[in-house]
């Protein structure tokens, strides 16, 4: 039992015991002496003084000696030992001066501590270096994966998404981390694929219709118990257009024997049949031409890529994306540029986009001052391969692969070559990967707060009354199993009415900013997809939920999600009297919102999300672990969360600290 006490206390107890034993021995000695003297007839009164005197001298002397020795022992042995032990435990090199009576123990402990510190430092360096290597490898892999044209999705053994790239997000709209993949791809096809893999195949083909109705082709592979899907929206090899070839064959087969009758007079019925078959042949040929020309590139190339190595006009729109194979088109343009310069021209690259709002085509121009180029010379240049190392890839081939052509024009005293190319609708600029492989290790979803899939969101509005005001901006961040997934929703919304200056003063959103923004139906429908199956979290949730629910009859987007209010969670931790504004809450939790982001929907959303993640950790420590616990606790707080979860129509009008 003594071993639980500190060394110094134990030493103190030992010395106290020693003092007690000495005092007891003294008492016994005095009693024996007293008894002996009394036996010789010495009167008690006469010996008492001498005995008391002897007892006091011996007792105080012995006690003083014991205390002094204890003090020396404590100061020079027990305390230094504790210091050395504490130093060794925390990794600090101990002061040897303190341990000068402990012989070599002090220097030895110091050497040991220093040696340990050195190896810890070396280990930390090695770990940091390894981490930097991993970070570099991760960045490399991210860039590699981001540019493969196919969609890549990885799921955990339970079929929940833990990785997807930008192409997958394009093929499977609404895909998000921690959502079941079966919401996007038919379960039957996935099960059949899984069965083929279980039968021993390393990877297997997958052909299915996505839930968005798109036909997809791909490969499926088991990785670490989960599944990797590589998806394309066109087949790996174009199937021969069998039906068209069959039609051609049929017309030709009918027509050829009929031609034998041409030598004599032709009966009208036969002439009619020949005409019909000939027309059928022509139609089938046209259809075949169209079918075969569907191979134009679908990837986007930036105008800056296409203009590389050329002399660009100053007004070239740099962010314009065209449907083109950058290598082929840039190579062809450089080849033509070179040939033109050999003729003495100094061409510049320009681009013309029609002024319509949704122009679908841009015309790339090589412009120069001088005579227009004869078409025959252009045709001969197009017959040459821009890259001599690929002799079969002529200018004509490159143009045919893009289903386009190039011609010469003269306009405004300038000669030019014109190359029309379709405008690419979109191209993700960012690496475009979303993943969290740790999802698989964090077990199945449950009603634990830390396991919920949430969307933290914030709205900016034209005013404070959900009954009459409208949303002008909405932002959201997804959280899966206690971590931000990196998936975000952020859009301005055209409220269809002027924004009062008082509201603009709060959030900085003007009428001009929302003029081209999506309307409420479009924005809330998209937000509905983003928040499907998630718990909605907001600061002063009744306010934001009120706006979402009020809009439901107009937009058809019903938000029947469960909701959590960070004001209420804050009140559960700090009591109702503490301030619960977003500023007060983030300050208490040590979260910094850059001032320029405060009162933007995304800035406030990010702050609320970080506050929420810290709040749930604190609530868990308080024993409020599950959604049900929060609901039960909320009843005690009589405020808000019930309101936030109340169906549309009677939501409280928001008057909280978030001014919309």
């Amino acid at each position: 039992m003594l071993t639980r006490l500190s060394l110094r206390l134990r030493v103190l107890l030992i010395f106290a015991g020693l003092a007690a034993a000495i005092l007891a021995a003294l008492a016994v000695a005095l009693w024996v002496a007293g008894a002996g003297l009394a036996g010789r007839g010495v009167p008690v009164q006469a010996m008492l003084d001498a005995l008391v005197q002897a007892a006091l001298i011996a007792g105080f002397g012995a006690l003083g000696m014991v205390v002094w020795i204890w003090f020396l022992f404590d100061r020079n042995v027990a305390r230094p030992i504790e210091l050395l032990a504490g130093g060794l435990r925390t990794g600090q090199a101990p002061e040897i001066e303190e341990a000068r009576y402990l012989a070599d123990l002090g220097p030895a402990a110091r050497d040991a501590a220093e040696a340990r510190a050195r190896s810890a430092e070396a280990l930390a360096d090695a770990i940091a270096e390894h981490a930097a290597d991993l970070q570099r490898e991760k960045a490399t892999l991210e860039s590699i994966l981001a540019d493969i044209g196919a969609g890549a999705v990885m799921t955990d053994p339970a079929g929940r998404v833990m990785f997807y790239n930008a192409s997958a997000a394009h093929l499977l709209p609404g895909i998000a981390l921690d959502r079941p993949i079966e919401r996007h791809l038919p379960g039957g096809a996935l099960e059949a694929g899984a069965a083929r893999l279980a039968a021993g195949a390393a990877a297997t083909d997958l052909t299915c219709l996505s839930s968005a109705g798109q036909r997809l082709w791909g490969r499926m592979r088991r990785i670490d118990g989960g599944t990797l899907l590589i998806l394309n929206d066109r087949p790996p090899q174009r199937p021969a257009p069998r039906d068209l070839l069959e039609t051609l064959r049929r017309h030709a087969a009918t027509l050829v024997p009929m031609l034998g009758a041409l030598e004599g007079p032709i009966p009208p019925a036969l002439a009619q049949a020949i005409r019909a078959e000939g027309q059928g042949l022509a139609n089938a040929l046209r259809a075949l031409t169209e079918a075969m020309s569907g191979d134009a590139p679908r990837g986007g190339a930036g105008l800056n890529e296409l203009a590389a190595g050329l002399d660009p006009a100053p007004d070239l729109p740099p962010r314009l994306m065209l449907m083109a194979d950058a290598a082929g088109v840039n190579g062809l343009l450089r080849h033509l540029d070179r040939r033109l310069r050999e003729q003495g021209a100094t061409p510049r690259l320009a681009a013309e986009v029609e002024a319509e709002a949704e122009a679908s085509e841009a015309r790339l121009l090589l412009l120069w001052t001088g005579a227009p180029l004869p078409m025959d010379r252009l045709e001969s240049w197009l017959a040459e391969p821009p890259d001599p190392a690929q002799p079969e890839l002529t200018g004509h081939e490159i143009l045919a692969a893009h289903a386009t052509g190039i011609w010469t024009e003269a306009r405004d005293g300038q000669a030019r070559l014109v190359l029309p190319l379709p405008i690419a609708s979109h191209r993700p600029d960012r690496a475009g990967l979303t993943y969290d492989f740790a999802l698989a290790r964090r077990g199945a979803a449950s009603s634990r707060l830390a396991d919920l899939t949430c969307v933290v969101f914030d709205t900016e509005t034209t005013g404070l009354d959900p009954a009459t005001d409208r949303i002008v901006q909405i932002a959201g961040l997804r959280i899966a199993r206690g971590r931000l997934t990196g998936e975000r929703f952020d859009t301005l919304v055209n409220p269809g009415r002027p924004i009062p200056p008082a509201s603009t003063a709060v959030h900085g959103i003007t009428d001009a900013m929302v003029a081209d923004a999506p309307d409420m139906v479009t924005a809330l429908t998209a937000f509905r997809h983003f928040t499907e199956d998630a718990v909605l979290v907001a600061h002063n949730a009744p306010f934001d939920m009120g706006f979402l629910r009020r809009a439901a009859p107009e937009t058809g987007a019903h938000f029947d999600n469960q909701a959590l209010d960070t004001i209420l969670l804050s009140a559960m931790l700090w009591g109702q009297s503490a301030p619960h504004s977003l500023d007060a809450l983030t300050e208490r939790l040590g979260i910094v919102i850059p001032p320029e982001e405060r009162h933007t929907a995304m800035g406030d959303t990010r702050a609320t999300a970080e506050a929420y993640l810290r709040l749930i950790a604190a609530l868990e420590a308080k024993g409020l672990e599950r959604f049900e616990d929060i609901m039960a606790e909320a009843r005690r707080h009589r405020r808000l969360i019930d309101d936030a979860n109340r169906p549309a129509g009677d939501a409280a009008s928001g008057s909280g600290p978030s001014a919309g």
Partner: protein, 124 residues
């Protein structure tokens, strides 16, 4: 009304068919089998319309259109291009170079007639 038409076409079989169709409709026409000298011939005979194949063995039909349009004296000569490459961009290219019409082979008789009627106005 009868129009004068110059057919520039290297494929004999198509030329024969065109000869038959144009004669039947009463047009005055001549045929050249190569592109070389076609522009000189157009200057000399000044036809109402040139029915011009794009893919000629020597000079491209596009070059002939370009040359015809470069000569202001030939402003009133209509040029109707014919090609077996029927893509949309070929049509745009031909029209950008100054052709007045474009038909893709194989064409139907009614299609050719409609184009001729459109380009020749009252003359057929």
């Amino acid at each position: 009304m009868m129009a004068s038409i110059l057919v520039v076409e290297d494929e004999d079989n198509i030329a024969t068919a065109l000869d038959f169709l144009l004669s039947r409709d009463g047009h005055k026409h001549r045929r050249m089998a190569t592109g070389a000298g076609a522009v000189d011939e157009i200057r000399a005979s000044h036809p109402d319309l040139v029915l011009l194949d794009v893919m000629l063995p020597d000079v491209s039909g596009y070059q002939i259109v370009q040359d015809v349009r470069a000569d202001p004296a030939l402003n009133d000569v209509r040029v109707l291009l014919m090609t077996a490459r029927g893509s949309v961009v070929e049509r745009r290219k031909g029209l950008a170079l100054g052709a007045d019409g474009f038909i893709a082979k194989p064409f139907e008789l009614s299609e050719l007639r409609a184009e001729l009627a459109r380009l020749l106005g009252g003359r057929c």
